[in-house]
Amino acid sequence: MSGALQDWKSQKKPFAAVVSAPVFWLALFFVAPMAIVWLYSFGQNAGPVDIEISGTLDNYKRATEWLYVSIFLKSFAVAALTTLLCLIIGFPVAMAITFAAPKWRPWLLLGIMLPFWTNLLIRTYALMALMGTNGYMNKGLAGLWEGASWLRTLVGMQPLEAWTPVQLLYNNFAVVLGLVYVHLPFMVLPLYSALDRLDKSLIEASLDLGAGHFKTFMQIVVPLAAPGIVAGVMITLIPALGAYLTPDLMGGTDSQMIANVIERQFKRANDWPFGAALSFLLIYAMFILIAFQSMRANKVKEV
């Protein structure tokens, strides 16, 4: 419905009135800070507080050391696994919401969104409380263990030895679980909006023509929901890759992700130029991911 765009020259005053504040804010409080970080990434410590921007590439060279490359790779692997799990868990949920009775649909959506609005730190903390050695997850596992032990005695075998609480927290498993917990709503919402737009008669046609539910799902639903899947993957992968809080609180000493390494350069190691270089490498990684996605989107358009 919106008509043609107006040329700014024809309405200079209203244009200036609406454009100046956002552009001013962006330039001063976004572009300038980012530019300073970028410059710092080519600098070196010249004293306890001074940083000399000398144009050196040493920080980037240091980032190619295996220690840091491996952390980058590991962060990517953790983020990718998180995204995959979110997709597997989230897709049926999004399907269920799409095909739910109209009166239930908004409430199910709200059910997914409410945790998303709840404070991230509180959610992480709540999950940690559940996963502690005295937490309910361990209790549940103990129950299962005792059940298995009892079953063994039933068939005349030796009972299992007594349950010892397992350390569920402070390892890579906890980090992935925590990230899935936090990012699941991010995945479900774009999946839902793609599925909601899907023409349901296509599914009916496929079922009528004799394809089973699984075949219909793989050949009709998934291809048609592809834009939503891509959007969901991006919206989960990007924040998961840069996650700081979850690996920091739930991870062990070997669960450091790239954001934790960056933080350490600023808060403890006091090597700001190196931290700045790592920050920009992380930003470049995001850009590459987004470029891949838009290349794919263009290809789809051409076809």
């Binding site: 609406v18 956002p22 980012m34 709200l110 919402l189 924040p239 609180l249």
Partner: protein, 278 residues
């Protein structure tokens, strides 16, 4: 639940495995939060076994001056950041929707960056920026929160702009032209025609900005000083030291606050409206 009609092929939601899947997912999402809330009333320090009902941890949390101060700081920052983000975000949306101007693509792209750039990088950028410009840290309250508020506005207003712009797409420009033909000034047309149209988006954007600001830990962690602790930063340090029932009580208060805000939004927009705007 126990509908007798046969299940139609597309009624996936009525299939048992699908229901269990959704049920388990909801359990996964809510069980930790609900247990946390229940155990905030538990009369035990160890917090594992139910020992009886008590409100003493709420009393403790509310008497913990630094915790209350952190909560007040967080709410103040969120309120300030929401208001400024609303103005800047709405202006940005109108500018991009209405005008063709040089470097428009650049402005649009730059504006979406605060959404994409990882929080940690943005946090680091603000840490360096405020150190570089020697931002005063010893100002009286609430001016000492200015650095955090500025950082929050930067990552909140692009979201507001996004929501408002989506709403603007359904605006009929002829309405505005008619108003102007009938003698309305540019400002009157904006205030009386355009603004009422985007009001739902403003409500949604405000809510989004408020929760984003209240929720933020990473960026605040890098911009806050020893005197400007926000609620998430305070909870973080409490969790780092030890897990106490006091944190449960404080968290429960914030969760309830979120739920109340959500229901206010529901009342204003209806559950469908909320679902559409997010």
């Amino acid at each position: 639940m126990f509908n007798r009609t046969p299940i139609a092929p597309l009624e996936y939601t009525r299939k048992l495995w699908m229901r269990s899947w959704v049920g388990l997912t909801m359990l996964f999402l809510y069980a930790p939060l609900i247990l946390l809330m229940i155990f905030s009333f538990n009369d035990s320090k160890r917090n594992v076994v139910w020992k009886g009902f008590t409100l003493k941890y709420y009393e403790k949390a509310l008497n913990n001056d630094s915790l209350v101060e952190a909560l007040v700081n967080s709410l103040t920052i969120a309120a300030l950041a929401t208001n400024v983000s609303l103005v800047i975000g709405a202006l940005a949306a109108v500018a991009l929707w209405r005008f063709q101007f040089p470097f428009k693509g650049l402005v649009e792209g730059t504006m979406s960056l605060p959404i994409i750039v990882p929080e940690i990088c943005l946090g680091v950028a603000f840490l360096i920026f405020f150190a570089k410009v020697d931002w005063p840290t010893d100002l009286p309250w609430p001016l000492n929160l200015s650095a955090i508020t500025i950082a929050h506005i930067t990552f909140c207003f692009p979201f507001v702009a996004m929501v408002v712009r989506a709403r603007l797409a359904s605006f009929n420009k002829e309405e505005e032209e008619a108003a102007k033909d009938l003698g309305a000034t540019e400002w009157q047309a904006f205030r009386d025609v355009l603004l009422p149209h985007i009001r739902p988006a403003l409500v949604a954007g405000a809510l989004l900005a408020f929760t984003l600001s209240l929720d933020d830990f990473v960026i605040t962690f890098f911009t806050s000083g020893p005197d400007t602790i926000t609620f998430p930063v305070k909870v973080y340090s409490m969790v780092r030291f030890s897990v106490t029932p006091e944190v449960n009580a404080a968290s429960t208060i914030l969760i309830l606050l979120t739920v109340i805000l959500t229901f206010i939004a529901l009342k204003l927009q209806g559950v469908k409206g909320i679902a559409e705007t997010h």
